[in-house]
């Protein structure tokens, strides 16, 4: 260890260091690279200066991200048949990334205008905050008309969730967040780092490859009063299983009964049904009951703005005064995190949603993207039903919604998918249909059938 150097440094400050002290000092330190002694004169004293002594010696490698690892392995695979169904990013039928036309148009407009790059206010671009709340709740929603929504621009879904988590930690210390089992992996990291305790509510039923609705209701009921219930607004990640509107009503009932607060993560508005409005139905249902709620939004997928980090946190409050106060506190949380949010993505969204022609064009492109995924689901289902003679019900593929599908494959079966068939997916059995083309459906069906029946 570097203790020999440290003991030199920790002698009392008033003692001067003599040359002889320097010679006593060991020069090899802990085996870390090259450590050698350099002397420097400051007129009065000379001191041995240790190089390459880091105080972070004991720090270990953080575990790799489970999803990134899939993409890396895919890239390393040389087989022609390989298929990447790990990626939660939209691909065209040609399996290429897709920049939306409206985004290109908006960026060109911005380039022509030659706008400045001044700091946004802490709460973000006002035009963006207005349109994002309108997109979520509907422009004529009373909560917007009455100024009851505190909206603050955030760094995509992640950043917006983190702002909300910090707000919960500060104003409801000890309150728990309930998250679905399973849920997006980063939810746990966000609440852990924000020091907000969490527990899970039952959600996915492996027997039906559907929703464990009774389990979900029971667990929400059992949670301590005043818990925050994290709900996916639509296109649940990773399962693709969404409650029906009737089930949403019952979920709202039990949340109100137990005095919980609903906390929506809306990362796929538009990707579930193809309609932006329809996909906001669950959030609007809760708002219509006069409930206070939190909603995190992301434009990563539906506008393809993944890397621009654009989203928002919305807090629907019982009064405009409360909304103003909550907004001010969200700002107080954001300032020591990043001061103010990035301008580029906000301008793109504001330009698109704020311009009727561009907005219409976006809605059309959204329908195309969601439509492609629905088409792929249908073809996959058809292929599975035609090829699988066991009589297994594959209809869950059609019932599941959004980019992802929980296949029901276990870890060894998922491994078989990769090792034998070069199909890359996450170990929980999730496949991203956004990465599947019509052309590959038959191949995928073969892989799934083989893994399901021949591997345990």
């Amino acid at each position: 260890m570097a203790s020999s150097m440290l003991s030199l440094a920790s002698t009392s400050p008033s003692s001067s260091l003599s040359l002889s002290d320097n010679w006593k000092v060991k020069t090899k330190i802990g085996g870390f690279g090259n450590a050698f002694v350099k002397t420097k004169s400051f007129g009065r004293t000379t001191m041995a200066v240790a190089l390459n002594v880091s105080r972070f010696e004991g720090i270990t490698m953080a575990p790799p991200d489970p999803i990134l690892g899939v993409s890396e392995a895919f890239r390393a695979d040389t087989n022609d048949l390989k298929l990447n169904l790990g990626v939660g990013a939209y691909r065209t039928e040609e399996l290429q990334p897709y920049v939306l036309n409206v985004v290109k148009k908006a960026e060109n407009l911005m380039l022509e205008r030659g706008e400045n790059k001044e700091y946004l206010p802490i709460e973000g671009l006002a035009a963006f905050n207005n349109v994002t709340a309108q997109l979520l709740f509907g422009a004529d929603n009373p909560v917007i008309q009455q100024g009851k929504v505190a909206t603050v621009q955030g760094l995509s879904g992640t950043g917006s969730l983190r702002l909300a988590a910090a707000l919960i930690e500060r104003y409801f210390p000890g309150a728990k967040v309930l998250i679905s089992s399973p849920t997006w992996g980063n939810h746990k990291n966000i609440f852990n780092d924000a020091r907000v305790p969490w527990s899970e509510y039952r959600y996915y039923d492996p027997k039906t490859v559907g929703l464990d609705f009774n389990g979900m209701i029971d667990d929400i009921k059992a949670a301590p009063e005043g818990s925050f219930i994290l709900l996916h607004g639509c296109a649940h990640n990773p399962t693709g299983i969404d409650p029906t509107l009737e089930q949403w009503e019952k979920i709202a009932d039990v949340i109100q009964e137990k005095n919980h607060i609903p906390f929506f993560d809306v990362a796929y508005q538009g990707f579930a049904s193809g309609s932006l409005d329809e996909d906001a139905a669950s959030v609007r249902l809760f708002a219509a009951r006069g409930m206070e709620l939190l909603v995190a939004q992301s434009y990563s997928k539906n506008l393809g703005l993944y890397a621009e980090r654009i989203g928002a946190i919305n807090v629907v409050c019982s009064s405009s005064d409360a909304a103003a106060r909550v907004k001010s506190q969200l700002k107080r949380i954001a300032r020591p995190m990043y001061s103010n949010p990035p301008v580029h993505g906000a301008r793109i969204v504001a330009n698109i949603v704020g311009d009727p022609a561009l907005f219409k064009e976006w809605k059309d492109e959204m329908e195309l993207m969601a439509g492609r995924i629905k088409g792929v689901r249908q073809k996959l289902f058809n292929s599975l039903s035609a090829k699988d003679k066991s009589g297994k019900d594959w209809s869950f593929i059609l019932k599941q919604i959004g980019m992802f599908s929980f296949t029901g494959l276990n870890k060894s079966q998922s491994d078989n998918m990769t090792n034998k068939w070069h199909v890359y997916m996450t170990k929980d059995g999730r496949i991203s249909l956004a990465g599947l083309s019509l052309a590959k459906c038959e191949y995928l069906a073969d892989a799934i059938i083989d893994s399901y029946h021949n591997v345990s």
Partner: protein, 441 residues
């Protein structure tokens, strides 16, 4: 008065909760209005002022001589170059690595051994604030009992950042309000000891070894007072003796002397002394990329293996906070730093900005002296960087805002970058007016 949830009794909590029963309202009753940010709140007040003569000398954002925000030519060029490039899900890792390396070179020198040997952990961050916050969280995670020593004064947001990361702060004395310069002897003393005031009593305690010290390598914010080279050497020596960790927040590289290398001199001195430092960098001011939130955090390490480990930890912290920084700004910086013509243009533009500010310092001081002000305004030209710690009292600041519609932070910090040939007379007159009757300094 608004109180936090934990201050309420169980009965009160139930009452607040019961307000929500049935229709789920009243959750946020105990949330009070937050005070305005002392710096960004000035801009808010400025924007709300309808007076056409108004001047914003609050936030540290460069203005050209017409008082307009400036987008650098190198940035405009870079923007045209990247337009239409289809960067989607993330910055490609090679571009990202290259950008981190170029940033590290700016801080540690083109020929730095640490960079050649990959002995540093670098991650791109949300400008200077984001870089500081990442480091603060990292510090908390791996040195949970440590403190951060902040200069007195320092950028106001430093206090917020380390507080929210739950790292307690301590001060070291820095600015001398009498000389309007550096109180060097006490600074050194505070590195060796820490001065604690407890009510009536004061005491000296040893600053625990291996404390974390936050230093501004150039253009100190808010004072504009930088140590001399000799003074930096002594500071480095004393910090090494006590085995303290030097963390540099470099937000104004280029604005102190006009030269990037010159402004990183303090960091190089520390490296020569064998310190393994940390550094937060911002491209907000020197590239004019304020709203794009581009910066870098780096930590020097014993070897490449440790660097990889630390980098992975920093990335993990970032992933649970915001994921990754926004790509547009990263592409702009990357394009400029890796294109030799653009990089040369950038350096010229920095020189021009620094020159305009220095010029304005001279003019402002001259005008005040010509007006016959009884006060000593030498510090206006002595101080460096964007800011002048004017010495104006809070009453003066308020009067300047109310009567003259000139906005600055309450500590009397003026952003010289906001002064122009057109408004310098107005500003000088206003300052002279409000300080006329005050005590001579």
């Amino acid at each position: 008065m608004w109180r936090t949830w934990r201050c309420l009794t169980t009965r009160e909590r139930r009452r607040v909760s019961s307000l929500s029963s049935g229709n789920g309202t009243g959750w946020w009753d105990h949330v009070g209005p937050a005070p305005k940010d002392p710096i960004l709140g000035v801009t808010e007040a400025f924007l709300a002022d309808p007076n056409p003569e108004k001047i914003n000398l609050g936030v540290g954002a460069y203005r050209d001589d017409e008082g307009k925000p400036l987008v650098l030519q190198c940035v405009r060029n870079a923007e045209s170059m990247i337009s239409g490039t289809e960067f989607l899900e993330s910055l490609s890792s090679s571009v990202s690595l290259r950008l981190v390396e170029e940033s590290a070179k700016l801080a540690y020198g083109e020929d730095s051994d640490a960079i050649k040997e990959q002995r540093y952990a670098g991650v791109l961050a949300l400008s200077g604030t984001g870089a500081c916050r990442l480091f603060a969280e990292f510090q908390r995670r791996f040195y949970p009992k440590s403190h951060i020593f902040l200069s007195s004064p320092t950028w106001s947001n430093h206090h917020n950042i380390w507080r929210d990361a739950q790292v307690p702060e301590r001060k070291f004395r820095y600015y001398d309000p009498d000389s309007k310069g550096l109180q060097f002897a006490t600074l050194i003393d505070d590195i060796k000891h820490v001065f604690i005031e407890k009510g009536m009593f004061s005491c000296m305690q040893n600053a625990p070894d291996r404390s974390f010290f936050l230093l501004h390598p150039c253009a100190h914010n808010p004072t504009g007072v930088d140590p001399s080279e000799e003074q930096w050497r002594e500071i480095s020596y004393q910090l090494k003796k006590k085995n303290h960790f030097p963390f540099f927040d470099m937000a104004y590289q280029g604005f102190a002397s006009g030269c990037l290398d010159e402004d990183a001199k303090a960091i190089h001195i520390f490296l020569d002394d064998g310190h393994l430092v940390g550094c937060a960098q911002s491209y907000a001011k020197n590239m004019g990329l304020y709203g794009h939130r581009v910066g870098c955090l780096s930590v020097l390490c014993a070897d490449a293996k440790q660097a990889a480990a630390i980098k992975s930890q920093l990335q993990q912290i970032a992933r649970a906070m915001y994921g990754s920084p926004p790509v547009h700004g990263l592409l702009l910086v990357s394009t400029i730093l890796t294109d030799s013509k653009l990089k040369r243009l950038w350096k010229t533009e920095i020189k021009d900005m620094a020159k305009r500010i220095t010029g304005m310092r001279v003019v402002l001081r001259e005008k005040l002296e010509k007006l016959g002000s009884a006060h000593n305004w030498q510090h206006i030209t002595d101080q460096v960087g964007m800011f002048c710690f004017s010495g104006l009292a809070p009453e003066h600041v308020d009067q300047l805002a109310k009567e003259f519609h000139i906005y600055m932070t309450h500590d009397g910090r003026i952003s010289i970058a906001g002064i122009t040939s057109n408004n310098v007379d107005y500003v000088a007159n206003a300052i002279h007016e409000v300080t006329r009757s005050g005590p001579k300094s």
